[in-house]
């Protein structure tokens, strides 16, 4: 059995049993998994964790799973010291958490691995999700591994790369003739009708917990300490809140010292409802209409926005938006300094980081971790302009004629 105790309303504190539900009946706010940390602390230790599997499942005791886990080998991705990028933007202690290196190339494998394991426990024979591509691929892959049926809803105009990287696992792929908002609305309407495990709706409290492992891993990889600053992308805001929860749980369990991490949240300027609220000093996140190339994080009405906002404020961090041109430039910068090809969400993080350093919010010597959450291979359209090869004949003379200028010492 896991150490999960109940679901608790993040607003009014009412408690609910550990079932496939995601909203408080009274105030319609999101539910969150609570744990018996006292009992948990008796079994977890640095040694026990370090000798576990080299995946996110080394933290099994801190996650709400009772039965078998469904694992494709997710997590424990590299944390690399980014010397070149650090030099470029003015940081001496910059690290990149490279979550492109998951089985389906995004951090979504962490959340889906937990949600699908719970779906099996609850006895669902079908899982479903609405997605802009990363979530759908991960759900389809995990469903394939377990034999669960999967219904995956995407907007019909999704990028080809994301379609293929979902369809290859053979889910029932449904292209909805409508906008992103329409797909989302359709799926929330379906929850009452079908007895399915909706990965990011009725299974959402469990799904959320998967992201805590990003916080755990970074702390362990830094030699059991929290960073001074963390910079992460936000769509619904859930990932951001769970990195924070993960760090704080480790402190509560005595595995690391007190957490003084400044949490910085980044969004694309074309869809920045949480950043807007931060800048306006508001408590409520007003929805916006998304318009940005960073489509994977273009959520106009972030369900966990106010909680992410609170963490950015209370941790002494901040929030920062980047324009589409900056996002593209940042994707190139990360590739060309560190050899990491991230998707647009990664561009948002690096562009935001740059702004935060330029404005003096993040200081040169602070140990800073930037979370790169998805691979660039699925959204190549965004940077297709980089392809301008020199075309030559297969002869030495043609090479010399066309390229000699760039060959040093010729």
């Amino acid at each position: 059995m896991s150490y999960a105790k109940s679901l608790r309303c993040s607003k009014c504190g009412r408690e609910y049993p550990l079932e496939p539900i995601n909203l408080c009946d009274f105030c319609f706010s999101p539910l969150e998994v609570t744990y018996d940390y006292r009992s948990m602390s008796e079994v977890v230790s640095r040694e026990a964790i370090s000798s576990g599997p080299v995946t996110m499942w080394r933290y099994l005791n801190l996650l709400p799973i009772n039965d078998k886990v469904v694992d494709l080998g997710t997590g424990f991705t590299p944390l690399i010291k980014a010397e070149n990028l650090g030099k470029e933007i003015g940081l001496d202690n910059l690290y990149i958490k490279n979550d492109c290196l998951n089985p389906t190339y995004s951090f979504k494998d962490r959340v889906v691995s937990v949600a699908i394991s719970k779906a099996m426990e609850f006895g669902f024979d079908t899982v479903a999700c609405a997605s802009t591509g990363n979530l759908s691929a991960s759900v389809a892959a995990h469903a394939a591994k377990t034999g669960l049926k999967a219904y995956v809803f995407v907007p019909a105009n999704l990028e080809q790369g994301k379609m293929v990287s979902t369809a290859i696992y053979n889910p029932t792929l449904i292209a909805v003739d409508g906008t992103y908002d329409d797909v989302s609305r359709l799926c929330t309407q379906m929850v009452g009708r079908f007895k399915w495990g909706f990965i990011n709706i009725n299974l959402r409290p469990y799904y959320a917990e998967g992201s805590k492992t990003l916080g755990y891993e970074v702390a362990e990889q830094l030699g059991w300490r929290a960073p001074d600053c963390a910079v992460a992308p936000a769509a619904s805001g859930l990932l951001f809140t769970r990195i924070w929860k993960g760090l704080n749980e480790l402190a509560m369990l005595g595995l690391i010292g007190p957490v003084n991490t400044h949490m910085y949240l980044t969004q694309a300027a074309g869809c920045s409802p949480i950043v807007n609220a931060f800048n306006a000093g508001s408590l409520h996140v007003h929805p916006v209409k998304p318009n940005t190339i960073a489509r994977s994080i273009a959520i106009g009405n972030p369900s966990d926005g106010q909680y992410a906002l609170r963490i950015a404020r209370e941790s002494g961090g901040g929030a920062c938006a980047a324009f589409d041109e900056e996002i593209i430039e940042a994707m190139k910068l990360l590739s060309q300094t560190e050899g990491i090809f991230a998707e647009t969400a990664g561009g948002v993080v690096i562009a935001g980081l740059k702004r935060l350093v330029d404005s003096g919010a993040i200081k040169r010597d602070e140990l800073t971790v930037a979370f790169i959450t998805g691979s660039g291979l699925k959204t190549q359209e965004a940077v297709a302009e980089v392809v301008s090869p020199i075309t030559i004949q297969p002869t030495l003379s043609s090479f010399i004629e066309n390229c000699a200028d760039s060959v040093e010492g010729y």
Binding site: L23, F28, N134, S184, T188, N200, H286, S296, P302
Partner: protein, 80 residues
Amino acid sequence: MAKRGVMFTFPTEMIREPIIYNLGRRFDVVTNIRRADVSEDKGWVVLELEGKEEDIEQGIAWVVTKGVRVDPVIGDALEG
């Protein structure tokens, strides 16, 4: 009978309009407010709508034509 959790976001010029009252009367939808905040320039209300599926649909469509933004209460269920 169907139930639906929604969030209405009102632009400034709509704050004085009795939208929720009219929604209930015109479309035979029971409205039940759970959370809300209205300031001088903007307002939002989280509420539950209960009624026949098609009445809820038509009611929401009418609210949208009034310039009010309507979101499902889970937030966008759509994710990257």
